[in-house]
């Protein structure tokens, strides 16, 4: 099946609601208007085609022809194909209807759109802040082109917090943002009825830095290093997604050896990230022995990354047009030795997480996200694959060297926390195999080709498989030395909806495990929430650590 045939049937069903369609390689672009958006999406939904991957807002600014406009782009993805609904709005008072009733996962993206781009989304409240601070001034939208730092200096009055948790008989436990277990700030509010969670909410935005706007003020090359610092765990994959997009825009084809080196770093990063996650989630279960062992072994891969690139965390491997570092025979040998050791250890870990009785009591049958939920709520990455949803861009839309070195998607249909452990650990074996194979058949070529300083006008979507799932970049250039818009949709963001919905009905003691089960990464997804109350430290406040201790005590007492 050719990629274009992926779109078969779409133009016919959507026809009445769109005013123009364009196709390009793996892209179907459909123009529609705000009043025809809902029927268009409804007709599209009936086809059961793909899932909503991101909503992008774009402001052309006032200097553009015809006094400028705002564009809202709804990207639906299926395998390598992206179908986009494009709605053009006036800059004065732009407004679109919410598609949340048709596509539940849209609400998060719509709130982000409303807050940063100032597009009113009917049916989505803009009153409560998602990721901008509560005192951010009204009617100041950072992603508008006419935004100035001076306009953000003002503050707005913050009213008294009111929320659904205030009903009599409901006990709300606020957690965070300072909670030591995850090392990242996020504020959770869990309404409980006795032991059982009846409502779960999260307020993110504590580490929202404004990178998308920052990217517009930096050159194409500067941005590689900025994107790398979106997340310190999956830094290479962010830079890779960005450079792949820019190279596609500029028409630069990188040499095969550079592709192989990038792929090796991607997989080594996945290894370090999954081992990190294994430790952190074992810690949540009170299994600190596994935490310490997996982190000890993780140092092996950190040493290898350092040997190859000179740094443990932000490797700075990517250039526009290639890579900086080669992997010579000596380095390849030490990588092989390191992987042999890790493979032995990983077999041991797989045995532990599938056989340790006390650990299984924390994971087996807990936090199940059914296939339908995972599909509907747009989960990605290992979280989706542990529910049997086969979403892995390395398999579906091979980029870099994944076409030459095919990956097997690791799936599990058990849907619970145990499945998430098994999937991630089995992915480690897949990564070991892949790195070894690429090292054995490294293509010979130069490492980089020149890339232009200015990138031709156009837009591109770049999607890669990060350790946590699909990473989505939308990059638009107006032909200058700086990007016009860089939109980043990170995998953790897709998975929050699933985690918050399965948390309800679980015991409070299971929540840390469920949350950490999706491998949440705050620094890259700090853009969405469903906010109910401002987090005021109250006498009943439990820290994350307290909650974890409580979980351990609860299970030590035999679940009573």
């Amino acid at each position: 099946m050719s990629p274009e045939s992926n779109f078969l049937g779409i133009p016919e069903s959507i026809g009445p609601y769109v005013s123009g369609t364009r196709t390009a390689e793996n892209r179907l672009d459909m123009d529609t208007s705000a009043d025809r958006l809902l029927p268009a999406v409804a007709a599209f939904n009936k086809l059961g085609w793909g899932y909503l991957s991101a909503i992008t807002g774009f402001d052309s600014g006032t200097a553009a022809p015809s006094d400028g406009h705002i564009e809202v782009l709804y990207h639906f993805c299926k395998g390598p194909s992206v179908a986009t609904f494009r709605v053009k709005l006036p800059r004065e008072d732009p407004s679109v209807p919410s598609i949340g009733a048709l596509v539940p996962s849209a609400v998060m993206y719509e709130r982000e759109l409303a807050e940063t781009m100032g597009v009113k989304v009917a049916g989505v409240s803009g009153e409560k802040r998602q990721f901008l601070s509560d005192d951010w001034p009204e009617n100041v939208y950072p992603l508008r082109k006419d935004f100035t730092m001076e306009s953000a200096a003002a503050t707005r009055e913050v009213g008294p917090a009111v929320g659904s948790g205030d009903e009599p008989g409901t006990f709300v436990i606020p957690i965070g943002p300072q909670h030591p277990a995850l090392k990242e700030p996020g504020h959770f509010e869990l309404a409980v009825d006795g032991e059982i969670v009846t409502h779960a909410n999260i307020r993110l935005g504590y580490v929202h830095r404004g990178i998308e706007k920052g990217a517009e003020g930096r050159s194409w090359v500067h941005n590689i290093y900025l994107m790398e610092r979106i997340c310190g765990i999956c830094s290479h994959i962010h830079a890779t997604a960005y450079v792949l997009g820019v190279e596609a825009l500029a028409g630069v084809v990188i040499p095969p050896r550079a592709r192989a080196v990038r792929t090796i770093f991607c997989e080594m990063e996945r290894i370090h990230s999954h081992l990190l996650w294994l430790g952190v989630s074992a810690h949540q279960a009170g299994f600190d022995t596994l935490f310490m062992y997996s982190w000890r072994d993780r140092e092996t891969i950190m040493d290898l990354l350092e040997e190859l690139s000179g740094n443990r965390v932000n490797y700075s491997v990517n250039l526009l047009g290639g890579v900086k570092y080669d992997i010579d025979a000596k380095a390849a040998d030490s990588v092989r030795r390191g992987l042999d050791f890790l493979e032995r250890r990983t077999k041991h870990y797989l045995k532990i997480v599938t056989s340790d009785e006390s650990f299984l009591r924390r994971t087996r049958g807990v936090g199940a996200i059914t296939f339908d939920q995972a599909n509907l709520l747009g989960t990605v990455g290992p979280t989706a694959r542990a529910s049997g949803v086969s979403r892995d861009l390395r398999v579906e839309a091979p980029y870099l060297s994944y076409g030459d070195f095919p990956v097997r998607a690791v799936l599990d249909s058990r849907c619970d926390l145990e499945a998430r452990f098994v999937v991630r650990i089995n992915e480690l074996f897949e990564s070991y195999r892949l790195v070894r194979e690429i090292l054995d058949r490294m293509p010979e070529s130069e490492l980089a080709v020149p890339a232009p300083r200015k990138v031709p006008e156009g837009e591109v979507i770049s999607r890669v498989e990060a350790p946590r799932g699909e990473l989505f970049y939308y990059i638009r250039s107006s032909g200058g030395v700086k990007p016009d818009r860089v939109k980043v949709r990170t995998p953790s963001l897709c998975n929050w909806a699933a985690v918050l919905s399965v948390a309800v009905g679980h015991k409070l003691a299971d929540i840390p495990m469920i949350v950490v089960g999706i491998d949440p990464c705050f620094s890259c997804n700090d853009r969405s929430i469903s906010l109910r109350r401002r987090g005021a430290a109250s006498p009943q406040a439990m820290t994350w650590e307290d909650l974890r201790d409580y979980g351990i005590r609860y299970y030590a007492g035999g679940g009573t």
């Binding site: 601070s133 504590y206 443990r312």
Partner: protein, 177 residues
């Protein structure tokens, strides 16, 4: 506490002070706060506490509540939303308290300097005792930062390690309270 101290004979008081300092240096408890970091430093701090680097051999313990902590170890630039929380965390800590700022962002804002949601670096919000530069700093550098803080508490920092102190930042004016 002050009343209790006064009722202690003067001869004992000196010994008691020594004992308090000794225990402070030998068991500094850390509380960690991320005010906008990318995770790189946070994970390196955690790696520092893991078996390879084992910061706990200095008696350091990372624990949950700021109310039990002696040292606040901060990462990242300060975002608009996290500023109040950083202050609140700092204020909840008992005196004497010390601050270690880890990573380039916590010193200057780093790669995020100029982004709209960044209000400044850690030093703009709370007084910092030790800066550990790097993006992210290696675990050895973080250990060095902690050890320098402990050495400083002993009052011998300047004499023993002048070169390394300069490398790790030293103390800005208006240091710890």
């Amino acid at each position: 506490m002050a009343q209790t101290l006064k009722s202690i004979p003067r001869a004992l008081r000196g010994a008691l002070d020594k004992a308090v300092l000794w225990s402070r240096i030998n068991s500094p408890w850390l509380v960690h706060f991320n005010s906008g970091s990318c995770n790189g430093c946070d994970i390196e701090i955690l790696a520092t506490l893991a078996p390879r680097y084992d910061l706990e051999r200095f008696g350091v313990k990372l624990q949950g509540s700021p109310r039990h902590a002696d040292v606040l170890i901060c990462t990242g630039p300060v975002t608009r939303l996290a500023r109040e929380r950083l202050l609140r965390t700092y204020e909840q800590m008992p005196v004497p308290k010390f601050v270690i700022a880890v990573g380039s962002c916590s010193i200057t804002g780093g790669a995020f300097h100029g982004c709209y949601n960044i209000v400044g670096d850690i030093g703009d919000v709370i007084p910092v005792d030790i800066y550990v530069p790097g993006c992210p700093p290696r675990p050895e550098a973080i250990i060095d930062g902690v050890v320098q803080l402990l050495t400083k508490l002993k009052g011998t920092a300047a004499k023993k390690t002048p070169a390394r102190k300069a490398a790790a930042g030293g103390t800005p004016p208006g240091g710890s309270p």
